[in-house]
Amino acid sequence: MSLYKKTAHELQELFIKKEIKAVEVVESVYQRIKAVEPQVHSYVTLAEENAMAQAQKVDELRAQGKELPLLAGIPIAIKDNISTAGMRTTCASKILENYIPAYDAGVVEQLKAGELPIIGKTNLDEFAMGSSTENSGLFLTKNPWDVERVPGGSSGGSAAAVCAGETILALGSDTGGSIRQPAGYCGIVGLKPTYGRVSRYGLVAYASSLDQIGPLGKDVTDCALLLQLLAKYDYRDSTCVDYPVPDYYQEMKKGVKGLRLGLAKEYLAEGISEPVKQAVEAAVQVYRELGAEIVEVSLPNTKYALAAYYIIAPAEASSNLARYDGVRYGHRTAADVADSVELFMKTRQEGFGAEVKRRIMVGTYALSSGYYDAYYLKAQQVRTLIREDFKQAFKQCDVILTPTTPSVAFKIGSKTQDPLEMYLEDICTITANLAGIPGISFPGGFDQGMPIGLQLLGPAFQEELPLRAAYSFEQATAYHRQRPGL
């Protein structure tokens, strides 16, 4: 039955009808992993024994007639910067290559309470710094649509695994686009929630004011169901907000008649490729036919977002990564050292990859004495302007449609010569992190056989609006049903 090909909601129905067992789904997924991992290489760690045990438990409970959580028995993969107790969590870095957390992240506790079998931990750009997963300190993950192309980043392993059928659902994290961009490149759906919607407790911090954990799945329904499980107040993350959680599944089916769809010219400027611009135009037509009202809006400070991000994120990272000093966990240099400072310097030099070092350097400089006002403070002021842009725009529209990326997935190695060229991949996604608003990427077409991702942005704590608009588009098109030939 190739159960690995199904969506979570399709599997739910089969479970309820008692046509399949959870162990069969997990088996199907691991068989698929055996078949395609050599080509895709999504996983850092696999947890077959634990996953099968969890699936068996679900089957037993169901046989006893017990009521089960909605996503019970649905296999899920977890990005390897999210803490899983007793299971290696590497952040794709040599400095944490053998680190085993003593506790579960808040979201992992939610997954376990939801009885989802955890398939394993997926590859990422080291410490979530990157847009292609090429910065992984461990190995390269390929795009299942074309193994000579990148899957995107930093949640490349999670996106590739969902895309290739190596898991049904996945968790990723998004600081500047790291869920949405790989979802776009891999032709799947990925959502970054509002900042504070989902607990960051147990997420290895990159940029604390920008990071969010979010769902990846084959379609909008799957992401809505997973978001429902993740959106739970957690007092252990003091930036988590105790705000009412709507029924996303119900809300997303409300259609788009009368919904005001915003189009911002700043997201369709030069730098966006022609095929992507055409995909946006085609989508606008679909929305018109579905009864949405198209509204032109302007977000004038968009072009400064990338610069603001590449000060704020590295600055916060330089502070967050100061803890990797070889004292309490992770790599410690084997070299002879005269004192602790030398211990830290050698340990970090040996353990961190180039991009991580680069960002720590930028961040350290931007925060250093004499430069704080010129760089970090300035960037924070620009952040206010960007937030204001969205506040104004959302007075005139309910959601904003943009491309997810300027073009489709690029060839491995084609952007690694110049860091700045790689940073430009983030221009459409970065504003949502700076403003703290939610964003979803969903399939909107193809260019030369590679998926094109479209993005919908919504107001803070109103994930149901982008979900609604994405769901309506999906139901009117068939892009989300296409899978790579792997």
Binding site: Y99, I100, A102, T194, Y195, G196, S209, Y235, S238, T239, V241, Y304, L306, A307, A308, Y310, I311, D325, G326, V327, R328, Y329, G330, H331, R332, A338, D339, S340, L343, F344, M345, K346, R348, Q349, F352, A354, K357, R358, I360, M361, V362, T364, Y365, S368, A374, Y375, L377, K378, A379, Q380, Q381, V382, R383, T384, L385, R387, P419, L420, G436, A460
Partner: protein, 97 residues
């Protein structure tokens, strides 16, 4: 604003990174490129703008000052590169008197 190699070495020391000579060369160039790129923010007049540290309003989260269980010492030491009893062992920090 252009970074000299000496400034790069200074920042590396602040960041506790022991860069190789090749890295110092490469990073000086790349860092200057990045810093030049972000300088475009100076085009904006932000004199009257409040900085945003957090996208959503944050308030201190308090709890009662009650003793609650915390991480078991054995668990906390699971990944210790070097330990003595319940301590992480490191090279000396303080100078000899």
């Amino acid at each position: 604003m252009s970074l000299s190699k000496a400034e790069v070495e200074h920042v590396a020391r602040l960041a506790r990174l022991e860069l190789s000579e090749t890295e110092k060369e490469e990073f000086t160039g790349q860092l200057n490129e990045i810093l030049h790129f972000v300088e475009q923010l100076n085009q904006l007049d932000t004199k009257a703008v409040e900085p945003t540290a957090h996208a959503i309003p944050v308030a201190n989260v308090f709890r009662q000052d009650e003793v609650k269980p915390s991480l078991d010492p054995e668990l906390a030491l699971t990944n210790a590169p070097d330990r003595v009893d319940n301590f992480f062992k490191v090279p000396k920090v303080l100078e000899e008197d």
